[in-house]
């Protein structure tokens, strides 16, 4: 398909999340569910998963592989979930990202184009 997949990593700030009143959390959950449902309806959703807040970082330090608790990124920024979509162009991907409800609650998204497994006409 000439459509392109985009992976959206949804970041949240740990402090902001912890400070959200329960009613806000409930509203956020509802709006995110609606967001996902809409993408499913439109045939653009490839996958969505929540990530358990127990990340480990694995890296090499002084010649040895070290595993520690905590995210690879800065401690306060967590990746709470990801969404993968399949859309006609980057414009549509950005439209979707901009409409993510978590943005109103201090969250942010990283949007990554996903490599295709085949050549496509756009490759030239």
């Amino acid at each position: 398909m000439p459509a392109v997949k985009y992976l959206m990593l949804i970041h949240g700030n740990e402090d902001v999340w912890n400070d959200l009143p329960p009613s806000d959390v409930a509203e956020l959950v509802d709006r995110v569910n609606a967001f996902n449902a809409e993408l499913e309806e439109s045939g653009e959703l490839v996958g969505v998963e929540g990530l358990v807040n127990r990340p480990r970082s694995v890296r090499r330090v002084d010649g040895a592989v070290v595993v520690t608790d905590g995210p690879y990124l800065e401690a306060k920024e967590l990746v709470g979930s990801y969404v993968m979509v399949d859309v006609d162009d980057e414009q549509r991907a950005m439209e979707i990202a901009r409409s993510y409800p978590g943005l109103h609650f201090g969250g942010g998204l990283e949007v990554w184009p996903v490599m295709r497994d085949e050549r496509s006409p756009v490759d030239g």
Binding site: M1, P2, A3, K5, E40, E41, S42, G43, E44, L45, V46, G47, D86, V87, D88, P113, M115, R116, D117, E118, R119, S120, P121, V122, D123, G124
Partner: protein, 409 residues
Amino acid sequence: MTAEEPWVDLLRSLVAPVLGSLVRRYGDLTRCEDAVQEALLDAFRSWSKDGAPEHPLGWLRTVASRRYADQVRADSSRTGRELAAFAALPRDALVEPGPDAEQPHDDSLELLFMCCHPTLTASAQLALTLRAVGGLTTREIAAASHLPEKTVGQRISRAKQRLRDGGARFELPPDPDRGPRLQVVLHVLYLVFNEGYSASNGAELHRPDLTRRAVELVERLHARLPEDGEVAGLLALMLLSESRTAARVDQGGLLVPLAEQDRSRWDQAAIARATTVLTSALSAGRPGPYQVQAAIAAVHAEAPSVEATDWPQVLALYGILERMAPNPFVTLNRAVAVGMVHGPRAGLDLVDELESGALAGHHRLLAVRAHLLERAGDTGAAATAYQEAARLAGSVPEEAFLLERAASL
């Protein structure tokens, strides 16, 4: 992937005619298409056990009609009167009798225009065309595009809903709509054709039946609209592309660029037909982008070797194409031709111009720069450029090719 049974290709080619005749009869694309898809799945199940029936077209039409009738009966939103009318009919009354010898009116083209309706998004047009006209199952489309089956199914349902809500009509659009809508159809067929060429390592995704289906449909369009130069141009372009199939991929599954292909493996019959079709179209004097692209491909097809290629003519044709349909990718291809005619440095100058435009940082631009640097003898810079291009490659086969290029220098 196991080899396909011999009847599979025939079965797929029957989907569009059967669907066309059902839609012409009942007008309900949404349910008719679902019914035909279910009948297709029934056929796969039943024919792989018992072999293909004696009259495959009749079989598929019968089963699809039954499936349609079942759907209608099951639909509780129908009025009581409609349901009673249906209930009163014997189950097979809706089924058209008739041997395969009776050729139905070819509705594939009307179907094609419907699937490529402007109210649908590009990916919806392609998915619907692959299923309703290409005769692929939802699962096959999903597998080819690495998507969940559910996503593709939903995309197609949504597309059919939009067609129904938008009042899309089952007919070849009249002028003045026909021209622009035909362009969309040609573009989608080109994408279907390229779907057949999505050869990744292992060739699992090479679908010769899809390329054949696309070519068949364009052939039918050409027969129906013989005056249309762009239809002829696309047909010629597809045939020329197809002619190189045997030489495009090496044993390791890596893509072989045009310049390095074993030309003795090119299909001369396909080239001959393409040339006939194209010459006739060009003589009508209404050139368009597909005709020009086909003409470029024809120049390559005629050349016994890359050195013997008429590069000045290729360059001139790219110039024409660029004026006709300005596109940075066309300019990039022209840069390659400039390199062949006026030397690599001249080509690199053009690439530099493109660097400040829409293709800035695009892997294709980087790959062309790398190629021209290689030809200029600047192997160090070329290797770096290939690596950079690989880093930004949009697909796995492209990345593999570019890395291999870098490594070979």
